[in-house]
Amino acid sequence: MTNVSSAADTSAGPVSTGPAVRVGGNPFRFFLRLRLGDIIAIAPFIIFALLFLLIPTLGLVVGAFQDPQGNFTLQNVMDLATPQIAASFWISIRVSVTSAVLGAAIGLAIALAIIRGKLPSGIRSAVMTFSGVASQFAGIPLSFAFLATLGRLGLVTVLLKFAGFDLYKSGFNLLSFWGLTITYLYFQIPLMILIIAPAIDGLKKEWGEAAATLGATNGQFWRYIGLPVLWPNLLGTLSLLFANAFGAIATAYALTGSSLNIVPILLYAQIRGDVLHNPGLGAALALGMIVITALANIVYLVIRTRAERWLK
């Protein structure tokens, strides 16, 4: 649990450089000091990162610009604009944005309630522990859980029908945009709670009291001080939640099969059986996913840099 939050903290914060290195004045000293032991220590990591993270990803980026014969082409990227693929991207972005924004908002509300809402202290640690578990409870079993809850035979559906309300006749369907979003919230909200709790702890009680003595209402405190102070953290978490939802496939696949054509499912089908009849188009699809998650992070970095003025 701590690991989740610390990993995310780093993604949401400036990278610390740790204690100063003790390299001598001579610039060649570093290389002279680079002993066999050092190389052995760092080599596995570098080789692994190249072979299993960087080169495979770059290979896809290059592949997106190659035709089957290996010549440069922009056709694959332009083919992303075909209605089927564009629709996939659109629904993926909608699900990811909605689940990230709702997850962040609800997660923030719950985190505020348990930290600043004067609830018994035991509740906080219970919620944090549960969040550690729930944030990892994703994929296939999560879809089973929601089928058992909100599926046609699910407990909630049955109970509501018993109470005289037919969920499915009212237009709800678990195998839909909203169904998927509600399901994704099950891991998005806990992730938000885990990441934002330390930031909320950083809001000093005196800021609220100072604002109150200056005439501010509770709402004005949050508008002018609380949220602006949390803002960089909120944005960082938002981009992480977005990436988290955008790349997720197992939950959606087990829940909806291929009835909800989000991008990862389309890509999955393409890898399985070349449904797009063009390997280069698959790579372009992957490129599109990389670009969108990268954009989300760049937006975050830009806004964060602007907030950096007052962040120590």
Partner: protein, 262 residues
């Protein structure tokens, strides 16, 4: 009761309902397999399924291998960066965070194109090669968590002093890592290991596209063909995740002691 406190309770109650109801519903659903009433037959059916045993033990083995391989890759690198090359830290941390941004499906797609039978390194040509690729893919998935865990562990102990003390006593780098650093960060490492296990045990995307019969793929198959067993599997999965995360909580209690004792 003040309105603010009332709101807190309302929000908490709403959250608690959203998170607890699906668990109750799943459990209730898993008991519904017989018309005549609640039974644990769905669980019996799952546990006695040969494919459950096979896929679960396969996932467990791959998970343990991924943890070991991950440690071999991460511990020396984290130690090296912290002690001898702090200026490399931003680059290394950036790399370790990539798996949070690059979706698993992209990674596996890249692997399939890079390690196919006609490539210079045709890992996908053999069963063993594919197993290795799956293991390394899981190392990649767990990299952010593993690296953070190890790095946090290193931060809590004074690596510099310990290394210098060991150097004075005549130990070489390998001995230092194995005998001095590692025992000190074992708690942090185990936390990372359990988190890795929690992530790996239900993983579906990568294994499915590499055609490996892991627990996640088995669950998906059951989900597509059965009605009540999936709910039982979801309950089992939740218990496993809870167990892994619970171990981390438990370990966290021992962590400061280790740091202080040394």
């Amino acid at each position: 009761m003040k309105p603010a406190k009332l709101w807190s309770w309302l929000i908490f109650a709403f959250g608690a309902a959203y998170f607890i109801v699906p668990l109750l519903a799943t459990f209730e659903f898993s008991l519904r397999i017989r018309r005549e009433g609640y039974t644990f037959d769905a669980y019996t059916s799952v546990f006695s399924d040969g494919r459950f045993q096979a896929s679960f033990s396969y996932s467990l083995i791959v998970g343990v291998c991924a943890i070991l391989a991950g440690l071999l890759i991460v511990v020396p690198a984290a130690y090296y960066v912290r002690l001898r090359a702090p200026h490399l830290r931003p680059i290394i941390e950036f790399i370790t965070l990539l798996p949070l941004v690059i979706p698993a499906i992209i990674l596996v797609f890249g692997y399939i194109r890079m390690y196919n039978t006609s490539s210079p390194l045709p890992l996908l040509g053999t069963n063993l090669g594919t197993d290795i690729l799956l293991t390394l893919a899981y190392v990649a998935l767990a990299l952010p968590y593993m690296y953070r865990a190890v790095d946090t562990g290193l931060r809590t102990i004074d690596v510099q002093t310990l290394t210098e003390a060991a150097n004075i006593l005549g130990a070489n780098q390998a001995t230092i890592i194995a005998k001095v650093i590692f025992p000190n960060i074992i708690v942090a490492v185990l936390s990372g290991a359990f988190l890795t296990l929690a992530i790996v045990i239900g993983e579906f995307t990568i294994a499915s596209l590499l055609n490996r019969q892991v627990f996640g793929v088995y669950m998906q198959n059951v989900g597509a063909n059965r009605a009540f067993e999936p709910a039982a599997l979801a309950v089992i999965s939740f218990v496993i995740t809870w167990g892994a995360m619970g171990m981390i909580q438990l370990l966290a209690r021992f962590a400061p002691k280790t740091a202080r004792r040394d």
